[in-house]
């Protein structure tokens, strides 16, 4: 209920603002909805959303799995931390635009270049978060696993992974929002489809209803994925915690 109210307030504000600013700068909701429906009817909307989602999924999976593995290693092994740290700092502070442009120059305007560029942007944040998680692992529980001679796989699954879970969830949450932002830039600069490409076209034609139609559909998809996938996942992971936390 509070959620619906919050949406209603958003649309009301938008409508009032469009009345004040004029149709040319900020079209009212019905105009944008009409543009959205037109794109949906032609199939372009779903095609572009689908392509963007596929890129997000690939880049996100790639960056999360690689970043978690590297972060865990750096948190557990001192030498790995020493070796990896300068690279990590470099990657953390490298602007997304630089990575994307260089990827396109070196690997051509290809799908692989786009996905790699997005993944590289997300990778260091996953590494940093998982490294913190690995550093915070409880040594007492490690000792327990050692004296009881638990096999490595069982230790990892029952002792290590549950301790890393909140860190993985945090990395996934912040990483997903980063990927949502960067994927559009990558598409704008070097892909012939996707939400980012369409927004670029709309920008060049000054087609504001189309621009907003794509932005809002995209935002809606993000919102649905957050509510349907990310939040229930987080709730499941923290099942064992006392309620107040």
């Amino acid at each position: 209920m509070p959620r619906l109210l919050s949406f209603a307030v958003f649309f009301a504000t938008w409508w009032i603002a469009s009345l004040l600013a004029g149709d040319a700068k900020l079209p009212p909701p019905p105009t944008v909805l009409a543009a959205m429906l037109a794109e949906a009817k032609s199939g372009d909307l779903f095609l572009n959303l689908g392509v963007t989602l596929a890129r997000v999924a690939l880049a996100f999976t790639l960056a999360m799995s690689l970043g978690s593995a590297i972060g865990y290693l750096m948190g557990r092994v001192r030498l790995a931390d020493r070796l990896g740290d300068p690279w990590l700092i470099l990657l953390l502070n490298l602007p997304a635009l630089v990575v994307i442009v260089l990827a396109y120059i070196w690997a051509g305007l290809t799908e692989a270049a786009a996905i790699a560029a997005i993944a590289i942007n997300k990778l260091p944040t996953a590494v940093v978060t998982l490294r913190e998680g690995a550093r915070a692992l409880d040594a007492a529980l490690d000792e327990m696993a050692t004296v009881f001679a638990l096999p490595r796989s069982r230790t990892f699954r029952h002792v290590i992974l549950p301790q890393l879970a909140p860190y993985i969830a945090a990395a996934a949450r912040s990483g997903l929002s980063l990927v949502w932002k960067i994927v559009l830039v990558a598409e704008l600069l070097g892909r012939p489809n996707g939400v980012g490409f369409e927004i670029g076209v709309a920008f060049q034609l000054f087609d504001i209803p189309l621009l907003l139609a794509y932005s809002l559909s995209f935002a809606a998809v993000v919102l649905v994925i957050e509510t349907v996938l990310v939040q229930p996942f987080e709730a499941r992971l923290s099942r064992w915690r006392p309620r107040a936390a």
Binding site: E143, M144, V147, F148, L150, W240
Partner: protein, 242 residues
């Protein structure tokens, strides 16, 4: 099955870089079916010694000969349960192949059957200790290490848990090492008592108790306790004076 221990010295370097002697000479042997009890003041290096015996710390001078392939069960001073697994899952973690009847019998002795589905965060310290005991016993250990398993429990509960430990230890032939600062626990549970000096720890005296655990009457326990007190009194006053 026999445990032979000869720790000549163990040093420990703290965060400030200062070196401390923790153990100055502990040598003993323990046979299957025996309960060896280490009694010493708090902070004398008992837990450090147990970590060495459990194979968690290899940085010491001397040698420890554990029977090859011995299963080790440990009850740490804090229960060290997995907070994200239920009581039953915590116990099954170390013995995934245990059959229901055995598990049920063990939970029956430790009065844990009602708490199987609870998470450790929902348990009192006494209950969590009993889960830790169940976890150590469920693997049917050859070598059992108990680090102050009754500390900070109220007297009645400690007495009950002590009886449960005695029952489990007598149930099978196992080498047991119990560390405590409570002379009462020592007198009631031990077959052989080792009295430790304040840090750095040395074995000051070794007291064998001939009477079996069950047969010890109150008078005998009182006699053993006063014997222990008399022998460690020198050490304790020395420590208080410093």
């Amino acid at each position: 099955m026999r445990l032979e221990v000869d720790i000549a010295s163990k040093k420990f370097r703290n965060a400030a870089g200062e070196q401390h002697d923790v153990i100055a000479g502990v040598a003993f042997a323990l046979d299957a079916g025996e309960v060896g009890v280490f009694v010493g003041p708090s902070g004398c290096g008992k837990s450090t010694m147990l970590r060495i015996l459990a194979g968690l710390d290899h940085d010491f001078k001397g040698r420890v000969v554990r029977p090859a392939g011995a299963r080790i069960g440990v009850v740490f001073q804090e229960p060290r349960l997995l907070p994200w697994r239920s009581v039953e899952e915590n116990v099954r973690l170390v013995a995934p192949l245990i059959d229901e009847a055995k598990l049920s019998a063990l939970f029956e002795i430790l009065e844990l059957n009602a708490h199987r589905k609870h998470f450790p965060g929902e348990l009192s310290l006494g209950l969590a200790r009993r889960v830790a005991l169940a976890r150590a016993f469920v693997i049917e250990p050859d070598f059992l290490i108990l680090d102050e398993p009754l500390a900070s429990l109220d007297d009645a509960l400690a007495a009950r848990l002590r009886d449960q430990i005695a029952m489990l230890v007598d149930g099978r032939s196992v080498m047991t090492l119990l560390v405590t600062h409570d002379v009462d626990d020592a007198a009631r549970l031990g077959d052989r008592l080792f009295l430790l000096s304040p840090r750095p720890a040395r074995v000051v005296a070794e007291l064998p108790i001939r009477t079996p655990r069950r047969a010890r009457g109150d008078a005998e326990i009182a006699a053993i306790k006063s014997d222990i007190m008399r022998r460690i009194d020198g050490g304790l006053t020395e420590r208080d004076a410093s």
